[in-house]
Subunit: 144 residues, 2 copies
DNA sequence: TCGTTAACTTGACTCACTCCAGAAAAGACG
DNA sequence: CGTCTTTTCTGGAGTGAGTCAAGTTAACGA
């Protein structure tokens, strides 16, 4: 787990000013992958005290824009953030409880950009979401 | 393009009651693939007159649940609906104008369910969204 | 034709997220 | 260190897709 110092370096590396809310948000997302905005606000407030939700939204947008965070929003879910960026991984989402887990790219490390007919689009990223049932919900369904 | 008669058969096949709003919604989605809810409401009202937005939401949910429509919601966009179901195709989304186009599954006709490590999840569907720039936006960017 | 039940109407409501204007803090420079 | 400029944060109001709930209407099987 990175320290506050690492976060500071990450911010400076992205030429972003170093502020307490930013450190706290980065830290919160590292600790709680796939957390939604509300949970992040909660965690940040636990560490810092009062922080406006607006600040968190701004920070999340700034960090997402800088590439330090990645925003994911599966259908039927609010926006979630994660800290794993740049490694082209994907997600499995549980249909019944909404749990999210990471999955490495099935077609290797390179972006899996192999659309059969791209309609003239210039494709730069492929996003994959696997839908299914998580282990907990599977056993729960069986035992019922 | 299917006729009202075809839509009626589709509804009965799904053991859903045949009502004017449902026919109109099915028809609207067939005519305007990837349309958002608001546009669908507009088209339906053009054909039927007054229809409550609630009715359209209900119909869309019923038809989606019955498998007659498919709901897609790319990040940063509102929910959109399409009538191509059951053929496991995916979508390209333009980052700058939001245009959506269909793309047949790159890994063949079978659902491309090949996650490298599924964390114990039982996966039943893989949803792929390709992000890029549409031809119009590409040429617009070049000429500027 | 009638009764049951699903579907539709109306209207209020929720909630994630955004916009705005002013206050505060960070970083640069002398 | 002190001041200035720029960026960020605060608080509150606002937006809009989508939902909830109660009552009415209409489809369909008997």
């Amino acid at each position: 787990m990175p320290t506050a110092f690492d976060f500071e370096r990450m911010l400076r590396g992205a030429s972003l000013r170093v502020t307490a809310p930013r450190i706290a948000v980065l830290s919160a997302v590292h600790e709680h992958p796939h957390a939604d905005t509300d949970s992040i606000i909660g965690v940040v407030r636990q560490n810092l005290g009062a922080v406006s939700h607006q600040a968190v939204y701004d920070v999340l947008r700034a960090l997402t824009g800088a590439g330090l965070l990645r925003r994911i929003e599966p259908q039927g879910s609010v926006a979630r953030y994660e800290a794993r960026v740049g490694d082209n991984h994907h997600h499995v989402v549980c249909r019944s409880c909404g749990a999210i887990a990471d999955v490495d790219c099935a077609t290797g490390a390179a972006p899996c950009l192999d659309a059969s007919d791209d309609h003239g689009f210039v494709i730069d990223e492929a996003e994959v979401i696997y839908w299914g049932t998580c282990p907990e919900c599977t056993t729960a369904a069986k035992s019922s």
